[in-house]
């Protein structure tokens, strides 16, 4: 399957699961699309041989915001809505992960650049829109999830070593600082490679 087709499938799946709300006329039946997407993603990963640890890693990195959102929905709207959030987001995360594990990054960059290129016909955008840089931004965004996770783990270990493992500020502040430093260093490296100005 071509990368563009895979991305289109993910986009359509996202529209369907977001559009089907349990608070709407479908009620609890609106859980079905999210469940289908989740099962399809799991089946796809199984078919291509994605290790269970890798799939778990995809969800683990987003576990905290996922659980916070689900808890909020459960408390404010009820358990069905909380379950809906869990199913929808877990399924979409795994489906997007399936695309990344089955698509070489350079093919993904080619697809993203091609998808953005028609926008250069929009008046005023031609001089400012660089398709290759948009595609590179996408690739960096994917990589940044792992980078931020590693930075946060190191900040947590450092906080624990100082006996401040429960101090949110001791965790968040160095994470933010190191993330910004990493972003600046990455920008310098990309500029040195001639990929950005």
């Amino acid at each position: 399957m071509r990368p563009g087709t895979k991305l289109a499938v993910v986009a359509v799946a996202a529209l369907v699961v977001v559009g089907a709300r349990t608070t709407g006329p479908l009620g609890a039946l609106a859980l079905v699309p999210g469940g289908v997407v989740l099962l399809a993603a799991l089946a796809g990963h199984t078919r291509v041989g994605t290790p269970a640890a890798v799939m778990a890693g995809m969800l683990r990195r987003l576990a905290l915001p996922l659980l916070v959102l689900a808890a909020y929905q459960t408390l404010s709207r009820g358990p069905v809505q909380g379950l809906e959030v869990l199913l929808d987001l877990s399924g979409l995360v795994l489906l997007a992960g399936l695309v990344t594990v089955t698509t070489p990054m350079d093919r993904m960059l080619d697809t993203m650049a091609a998808a953005v290129t028609p926008l250069r016909r929009v008046p005023g955008l031609r001089a400012h829109l660089h398709p290759d840089r948009v595609a590179l931004t996408f690739a960096l965004a994917l990589r940044s999830v792992d980078v931020l996770w590693d930075v946060a783990l190191q900040a947590r270990d450092a906080a624990r070593a100082r006996g401040r493992g429960r101090d949110v500020r001791a965790l968040v502040t160095p994470t933010v600082i190191r993330a910004v430093a990493h972003a600046r260093a990455t920008g310098d490296a990309l500029a040195a490679r001639g990929l950005v100005d």
Binding site: M105, A189, A192, R193
Partner: protein
């Protein structure tokens, strides 16, 4: 050529002037490299300078941005708009040069620090720069990985300028500059120049 000096002496700033990552506050930097069009001022032509000067930073994790070694080297070649077959061939050649051909498709996470630094070097060399600049390339590496990187750099066929605290690495270069408080205070053959550096560092 090696640049040695204390932390904050200006080594990295001097190197960054070579590919317009930094601009000199006074004076000019001029590059006269094979493949260039005569003398080039990086501050006036940063894109051209960056196409001629390959730059390797201290931390490989900030330089390696793609999931696998092959994809990261291929990223460097995208701006050259090469046919896919030629691009793949150059990727393989670059990785083979640094001993990573067998690991072209493994996740970058599975590489050691030294291998990631070698990958950063490969990604830079793949574009055929006229000058290779390395900013403390072995500072974060253990002795074994330092030897790997050093052996790779010694085989490079283009001029090399590197900043380093590794005096053995500096001694293997043809010329050494000592940088102190933003100025070059010694310039010459490794042995006498490094002696000057040691005296500078040992001074009270």
């Amino acid at each position: 050529m090696a640049l040695v000096g204390a932390n904050g002496s200006g080594k990295s700033t001097l190197l960054r002037c070579l590919n317009a990552l930094a601009a000199p506050t006074s004076g000019r930097v001029l590059l006269d490299l094979p493949g260039g069009d005569g003398r080039l001022d990086p501050a006036r032509s940063p894109s051209r300078a960056r196409s001629l000067v390959g730059f390797v930073f201290t931390d490989p994790d900030a330089q390696v941005v793609m999931p696998t070694p092959a994809e990261d080297v291929a990223l460097s070649l995208r701006r050259l708009r090469l046919p896919r077959a030629e691009r793949d061939a150059r990727v393989h050649t670059a990785l083979a040069h640094v001993g990573l051909a067998e690991r072209a498709d493994v996740p970058v996470h599975d590489l050691s620090s030294g291998q990631r630094q070698l990958l950063a070097i490969a990604a830079v060399l793949a574009t055929g720069p006229g000058l290779l600049v390395l900013d403390e390339p072995t500072t974060l590496l253990d002795r074994r990985n330092t030897r790997l990187v050093r052996a790779t750099v010694e085989q490079v066929q283009v001029p090399v300028v590197l900043a380093t605290h590794d005096l053995d690495l500096a001694a293997s270069c043809e010329r050494v500059l000592v940088v102190d408080h933003g100025r070059v205070v010694a310039d010459g053959l490794p042995e006498p120049t490094l002696a000057t550096y040691r005296d500078l560092m040992d001074a009270p």
